[in-house]
């Protein structure tokens, strides 16, 4: 099967499982992003048809929510908290360091495709600021050094 054929098959399966839930669009979009790590433009028509929506409506929902993305992320997505509590504990300096170390800005992916960097507004880890999330793992009291160590460990694994 072609790559696009596989994508369509995965999307159709997710749609079939979830489409009868009341308010099914967000669960379906989560399902697609969980499976494919993003929501490809080519999945939009199928979702729209299944829910009796226009493609514009589905696109509008995808683009409204910060979490949904229509381009593939790097192997790991780093969500760095920008909110007040983290700022009070040196979050801004950490943000500069992370951007310099990765050589990218927010919403970008490193050239080797290993890391994407996204801002997040609070991880609920405010008692351990500054905080970040890599994949599903949350890290607290992150320093420039501890971030470098984490990154080195992940690069070794990658």
């Amino acid at each position: 099967m072609t790559e696009s054929g596989t994508t369509q098959a995965i999307v159709q399966e997710i749609i079939a499982t979830l489409k009868d839930k009341p308010g099914a669009l967000l669960p379906i979009l989560h399902g697609v992003q969980d499976a494919l790590s993003y929501i490809p433009a080519e999945s939009v028509p199928a979702i729209a048809t299944a829910l009796n929506l226009s493609r514009a409506e589905v696109h509008g929902v995808i683009s409204f929510y910060h979490y949904f993305r229509d381009t593939p992320p790097g192997k790991q997505t780093i969500h760095l908290c920008r909110a007040e509590s983290c700022q009070a504990m040196g979050g801004k300096q950490l943000e500069e360091h992370v951007k310099t170390r990765l050589g990218i800005d927010f919403h970008e992916t490193t050239a080797d495709g290993k890391f994407s960097l996204e801002p997040v507004y609070c991880l609920g880890n405010c008692a351990c600021s500054p905080a970040m999330q890599i994949g599903k793992d949350i890290y607290g009291r992150v320093s420039e050094d501890s971030f470098d160590n984490l990154l080195n460990d992940m690069e070794k694994l990658a």
Binding site: P22, G23, A24, L25, L26, P27, L29, H30, L51, G60, V61, F64, Y65, H66, Y67, F68, H79, A83, E84, S85, C86, Q87, A88, M89, V120, Y121, C122, L123, G124, N125, C126, A127, C128, S129, A131, Q133, K136, D137, I138, Y139, G140, R141
Partner: protein, 517 residues
Amino acid sequence: MSITIYVPCDSSAVSLGADRVATAITNEAAKRGITIELIRNGSRGMYWLEPLVEVATANGRISYGPVQPADVSALFDADFTQGGTHPLYLGLTEEIAYFKKQQRLTFARIGITDPVSLTDYINNDGYRGLKNALNLTQEQIVQAVTDSGLRGRGGAAFPTGIKWKTVLNTASLQKYIICNADEGDSGTFSDRMVMEGDPFVLIEGMTIAGLAVDATQGYIYLRVEYPHAFEILNTAIASAYQAGYLGSNIQGSGKDFDLEVRLGAGAYVCGEETSLMESLEGKRGLVRFKPPLPAISGLFGQPTVVNNVISLASVPIILDKGGDYYRDFGMGRSRGTLPLQLAGNIKYPGLVESAFGLTLRELLYDFGGGSASGRPIRAVQVGGPLGAYLPEAQFDTPLDYEAFAANWTVLGHGGIVVFDDTVDMAEMARYSMEFCKIESCGKCTPCRIGSTRGVEVMDEIINGRNLDKNIPLLRDLCDTLLNGSLCALGGMTPYPVLSAINHFPEDFGIDAKATAA
């Protein structure tokens, strides 16, 4: 005697290494041939001590912290499984002053029980509220909640009983209970702690709400930034279904209540109840006009109770011990307890549940121990990103909804973010405008355009350009946001901005006299 060791599964504890500590303890015990039972409890909320490891002894639970995997071998050498002394030894957990001084009602079990064990929940007073509720009429349940004086803990502080009564009195074939678990305010984590540390109390609270107003379907709208809570809630919900506490014919009562967790997708505005319902319906999270109130026409156009996690999690103890019991805590019109969250630049960050009436200063210094950096505390933001900044002069304000409102400040969801004297308040004001710009749903012009203009004006001010024109312009813009926005996002962004300029004018390049507008 068997050995029981507790290592929290709370995501903040995990962010500091709790999982690795748990693995290290399991491995070290196996290596030494010691049989232990390791329980992953919620957090006690003393985050400077996390990962906090506890051991059950005949005298009570003894704690050690903060423990790192490298400490584990030495802890075994010190015979910590029998409460032995070690540099990380903290004594009886419940005697630690920070914990002992609290009044834990909503958080009574958190940090003590295994969050996903229904048996543990029931053995620790769980489901007593529901049991009582099943013997009451709907009016009596609503009356108990009204009598308790409980007000919405999400921030708006609307009386919960009145909201329930409106839904009860609105006839419909289908009604809904929504738990707003989109806890997006910086400096807040009490909802997360409840969902990760005692999910059954939320499930029980929602079930009681369903009984009270005749709603048979509940949704927990959870933010996607809380993946641990998502897992724990789903595990707990599955157990509750299995044991007949959810689904049809709950505990043989003939009453039905179904519950499902739905994930948000990173939009702060979806914490606003009408935007949340749009999102649950599968749409862009655009704020709705009110009226109609959600209690009359909410989710899918049906009568809907929308309550915060802490509000719903406070319901079981009210139905267990009575509205009067809960109401006897607190001051003025702020009844019961509020779980406060100390965050940012604070030496002892964590969760402090206490009756209303404590002063901010007591919280910052008696509990919090001053700043983490050791420098003077200069500003404190209470109530999340839409809350005002308080200067030292306001630290004696009691934590009470009305006392805060009288100062043009808000208590909100009880989040407290502390800044030391290195903070630049003009930068914080700019950030508030920027946050509003990023998170605005775009429906109303004051918020959508005003926040962008606000960032531009703040940039001018920070660069010291035309202050005599730009400061009045900023105030004028804030006035438009405050009075012209559709919801609290645009309507309250002026709180942090104006409080910053009013209390810290020197950071804006102006002297105090010039600000008396």
